[in-house]
């Protein structure tokens, strides 16, 4: 199709309107035209992605997180070969000083037991990211279900769910997590399941509240009534008409919550309540919080042991927050241009 044809749009009633630029105006550059075409038949989320790509800070955060995920996923393929296993002591160091400064073999040095810090930071990303993502997933699943029921069926069900959420929110979060995890037998803590469930279950009330308020505003829209007038059932209305329009705040909140969940995991691990490496079931389990705990004796002499996992936690949590911010800006309908 020629460009001239493309520039002519049919408006209402079949009247042909000429939307070509007035003569004398600058012809659109290739870049502009490509941008216009790529935004042609855009969806809400296609549009959001378009805007997110223009947010350098969020894009940087996303790149950092992708890098981290790739490193964590592929760790078994390259880390042990070059730097040693995260929980294995470098046998060459036995009998000598174990706290080594950074060197080509140990880029971030070794810790007090002679374990490679770089390997530990990379393997630590596995636990942190998995726990963060899964815990938020648990919270989002519970929160969306209860929030949707609460927002759609106002009345006694709403009151019941929201009071239940209030009770949960009144729980001292960290203390309750400590309590829960400390009564579990040690062997069950070799897996991430207890930590994930604890953080997830404690996190649902905020998600439910955000989603409920989102549902409350979306369900007032005429298209929900129109859907009902088409004969759609309650379930269809919630899932097909309300949910896709109400999910944006949850997307933002969940992205930011992953950072929070990582922090909680680190705090619990620091207190000795996180994942305990089991020689058989989880030989490579490392937690950034646990690393900081291990290193706190050497804070004055060998700050690196605390510093590296600390930087890892800080950059990861910051990246999730920045990404969440970017997602929020990208999804903000008021900013649609």
């Amino acid at each position: 199709m020629s460009d001239d044809l493309k520039a002519v749009e049919v408006t209402d009633g079949g009247v042909i309107a000429d939307v070509r630029p007035p003569p004398g105006s600058k012809p659109p550059t290739d870049e502009l035209r490509r941008a216009a075409e790529s935004r042609g038949n855009r969806t809400l989320y296609g549009d959001a992605w378009y805007r997110l790509r223009r947010n350098k800070l969020a894009l940087g955060a996303l790149a950092w997180l992708i890098l981290l995920v790739l490193a964590a996923v592929s760790a078994d393929l390259w880390v042990p070969q070059h730097f040693g296993k995260p929980n294995a002591i470098d046998t060459a160091l036995i009998g000598t000083s174990r706290l080594l400064p950074p060197s080509p073999t140990h880029p971030l040095g070794t810790d007090d037991l002679g374990r490679d810090m770089f390997a530990r930071v990379i393997y630590g990303a596995r636990i942190s990211l998995t726990v963060g993502a899964l815990a938020v997933l648990v919270a989002v699943l519970i929160g969306i279900l209860l929030g949707a029921l609460s927002g759609f069926y106002t009345g006694w069900l709403d009151a019941l769910i929201m009071r239940f959420a209030d009770v949960f929110l009144a729980f001292p979060y960290i203390l309750f997590a400590i309590l829960l995890l400390s009564v579990l037998p040690e062997e069950s803590r070799a897996s991430i399941v207890p930590v994930v469930l604890t953080i997830g279950v404690l996190g649902w009330p905020s998600i439910a509240r955000v989603f409920r308020s989102s549902i409350l505003s979306v369900k007032e829209n005429d298209y929900v009534d129109a859907g009902r007038a088409l004969g759609a059932s309650d379930g269809r209305l919630i899932i097909r008409h309300i949910l896709p329009n109400a999910i944006a705040p949850i997307l933002v909140y969940a992205t930011m919550s992953i950072g929070g969940a990582i922090l909680t995991e680190a705090a619990l691990s620091f207190l000795g309540l996180g994942i305990i490496p089991d020689p058989v079931r989880s030989p490579n389990a490392v937690s950034w919080g646990r690393m900081i705990d291990d290193g706190r004796m050497y804070l004055t002499s060998n700050a690196g042991i605390v510093l590296w996992p600390g930087i890892a936690i800080l950059t990861t949590v910051l990246a999730f927050t920045l990404l969440g911010d970017g997602v929020r800006d990208a999804l903000d309908v008021k900013m649609r241009d």
Binding site: T11, D12, L44, Y223, G227, G231, A232
Partner: protein
């Protein structure tokens, strides 16, 4: 009584609010047959929309409650029907066109998806069948290049096109009754005329009955076969288009007609608008609800509620004096309504 497609009989829908009982619909009756258009006209808050929404079962209950009367569609009561059965009728046998096309389409779905939704719900059509039906309907409502526009999102449509899409949505299952709730109010005048024309054209093809809700007498004159004038939840006047327009019986109908500017009006013959505001439905005036604004009100109007009376054939009004030979229409500006 002959079997009508839809018979609404003394329907009463009240809302129980903290401030008291709002009688949004209070004793409305009418019948509707195939191929016929009923125009429901009245000011904002006169109960036009609530009447229609009650038929569709789209009123939240509570606070709403049907306090009396019935609505019979093809011999079945829409009022006592189970929600499940009502859902099978909605969008299938009775469908609705909403007032504001800008907000009545879901922004995250393609136009075609939304038009095809009801055939997927009611007829179990596949995605491809629903899409084909959507293309066909978009063509029917006059959207150019329907096979291309079917994949557009609502924000890519103009207001008039969206209303056309809404009409296509309502038509998807060949409904027997099409309820149009002020379908042209949100559109500009030239598009209004196109949409009304389209609805008439659609009716010629599908022979469905239309309930046209509007506050615009011009729209009624264009499209309706019969007219129901509503005031404060009650029927003020009911009759054929001819009857109501050539021999209006109710002072409220007179007032509505005298409020319309006409071409060629001299400066002297000023408009005669109805004075005052519609009453709050929580504190309805005693007697005839229109008496505080009626320039012809007499003592009896303040005390006694005028029942709906048929004056000539089915043409009737809720006014004590309707049809009396000496009760004639005059410009309401000449007569000051009594202080309330």
């Amino acid at each position: 009584m002959a079997d009508h497609l839809l018979t609404v009989d003394d329907l009463k829908m009240y809302f129980h609010t903290r401030d008291g009982v709002v009688k949004a619909v209070d004793g409305v009756s009418y019948t509707l047959d195939k191929d016929e258009t009923l125009g429901v006209v009245g000011e904002s808050g006169s109960g036009k929309s609530v009447t229609a929404l009650t038929l569709m079962g789209l009123i939240q209950m509570p606070p709403g409650r049907v306090e009396g009367g019935d609505a019979t569609f093809k011999g079945r009561s829409l009022i006592t029907m189970k929600e499940e059965d009502l859902r099978a009728i909605r969008g299938n046998e009775i469908s609705m066109i909403f007032q504001d096309p800008m907000t009545s389409l879901n922004p995250v779905y393609r136009i075609g998806h939304q038009i095809g939704e009801s055939v997927r719900i009611h007829r179990g059509a596949s995605k491809a069948e629903a899409r084909a039906r959507a293309v066909e309907l978009l063509g029917l409502v006059g959207i150019p290049h329907p096979e291309k526009r079917v994949d557009d999102y609502p924000h890519q449509f103009s207001g008039g096109m969206r209303q056309r899409a809404m009409i296509a949505m309502a038509l998807a299952c060949d409904p027997d009754i099409l309820i149009a709730d002020e379908p042209t109010t949100a559109l500009d005048v030239t598009i209004q005329a196109q949409i009304l024309e389209l609805m008439q054209e659609v009716q010629r093809r599908t022979r469905s009955a239309i309930i046209m809700i509007t506050h615009d007498l011009g729209v009624i004159a264009d499209i309706a076969d019969r007219v129901l004038v509503m005031y404060a939840g009650k029927p003020a006047e009911y009759g054929t288009l001819d009857e109501v327009f050539s021999e209006p019986l109710h002072p409220y109908t007179w007032g509505l007609m005298d409020s319309i500017p006409r071409a060629g009006m001299s400066e002297k013959s000023a408009l005669c608008p109805i004075k005052g505001q519609p009453p709050s439905l929580v504190h309805v005036p005693s007697g005839c609800t229109f008496h505080p604004r009626c320039p012809y009100a007499k003592d009896v109007c303040r005390v006694k509620v005028p029942p709906f009376r048929e004056v000539k054939g089915s043409h009737g009004a809720s006014c004590h004096f309707a049809g009396q030979p000496d009760f004639v229409r005059g410009c309401s500006l000449d007569l000051e309504p009594e202080a309330v």
